[in-house]
């Protein structure tokens, strides 16, 4: 779906997306990294478990809600990748902390 214009970016950041390691680039949002990784669906809706993905990328649509570092309902377009960040697709309302 998307690609980087600069095929040789400088500062790499290792994150995991749905458990799979991925080389993101410093300064990218979690949403951008996820879109680049080729994933279609970043969450399923609580009402009907329909797949959704980021829509506005500016923080006003709340479609890009994902589980980031174990916390659900985080807008992936408002979070920046950091070393070791764990990004997961959110199923419905997201799990409760233990």
């Amino acid at each position: 779906m998307f690609k980087r214009l600069d095929s040789n970016p400088s500062k790499r950041v290792t994150i995991t997306i749905d458990g799979i390691p991925y080389e993101a680039v410093a300064g990218e949002t979690a949403a951008a990294a996820v879109l680049l990784s080729g994933i279609d669906c970043t969450r399923t809706t609580p009402v009907s478990a329909t797949p959704r993905a980021p829509f506005c990328l500016m923080g006003v649509c709340y479609e890009c809600l994902m589980v980031i570092d174990g916390q659900p309902n985080r807008r992936a377009c408002q979070e920046y990748v950091a070393e070791g960040m764990r990004i997961e697709a959110q199923r419905g309302p997201g799990a409760l902390p233990e």
């Binding site: 609580p46 916390q71 309302p93 997201g94 409760l96 902390p97 233990e98």
Partner: protein, 370 residues
Amino acid sequence: MKTDTLIIGGGLMGCSTALQLAKRGARCVILDKDSPGRHASGVNAGGLRRLNRHPAEIPLSVASAEMWHDIESLVDNDCDTRFPGQIRVAENREDMQKLQERAALVRDLGYAHEEIIERDALYQLVPALTPNCEGALICRDDGYGRPFHALNAFRRKACSLGVECHSAARVDQIDRDRKEWRVITPKGEYRAPVLVNCAGAWAGPIAATLGEPVPLKAGAPMLMISERLPRFIEPVIGAASRKLSFKQMQNGTLLIGGAHMAELDFKQQLTEMNWAKLAVSARTVLALFPQLKDVRIVRTWAGIEAFMPDHLPVISRSSTSAHAYHAFGFSAHGFQMSPVVGKILSQLILDDQTELPIAPFDIRRFRKDR
């Protein structure tokens, strides 16, 4: 426009009364200055609670609970009611003592619906609760509904029986000639032999017009709602020594109340949140459920309610007219009572009597000359 009964206020009390009257063939028109359920009836916490009622309210609340448990046969809609129980948690021995006294009081009045449970039973029912609570007071068949949907169901059923509901019909003037009331609104003039005041926070001026002023104060208790969560709690939670009303709604959101008041500009019908008090509410929730610290609040609001100084409603014939009736002042706990209040008013209006004990709710209790 002429009818049998004019009901001022299209909230639950008004719609419930209209429904009961219409079931017995009386024609009604409901007048609301906004739209039905715009205020308290549409935005309250939806609690269906007999638990911890003032003794005077208990008989009515118990009767109303029976109606809620069979609400579908009354309004052709289950109003999304659930009955997982309501609980008042005791966090320590002093709390437990208070709750035991309460349980004894209710038993002495001849009612069995409030029960003490010990630690084990409490954690069976509410495993998510922070450890080290002592026990609780529980009403097992209490629960909650969805206020606007309930209001909608009452209104639709009433309308299907011929009741008319007029919005944007604020009552500007009331007078009476020998045989009937004449009410003037921006929508026109209405006449009926019987007048019912169910105007909620706006009932005071109407009572005053009838020559029976009441010390009604409008207040706006704050509520806040969270994002959706997977289901983790069933009963509605209160606490013996904290202001808390906490429930997980049918759709998984958490509804948190606690009778903290917003800033209210009554004339403009505008509320402003008191964040200091909401912060206290948040701390209260986290004291009992610390694991919820990262749960997000997505919205707050405060519906405008009528408060009486003794926190008891007015459910009463008028004291100045043989043809007027009152049901208002439910002080933020009227939702559960609405089915039975409609029944009571319809009985007062059509039979001039009701078997339920309504003396404590008489409007005359506010008369200065008593």
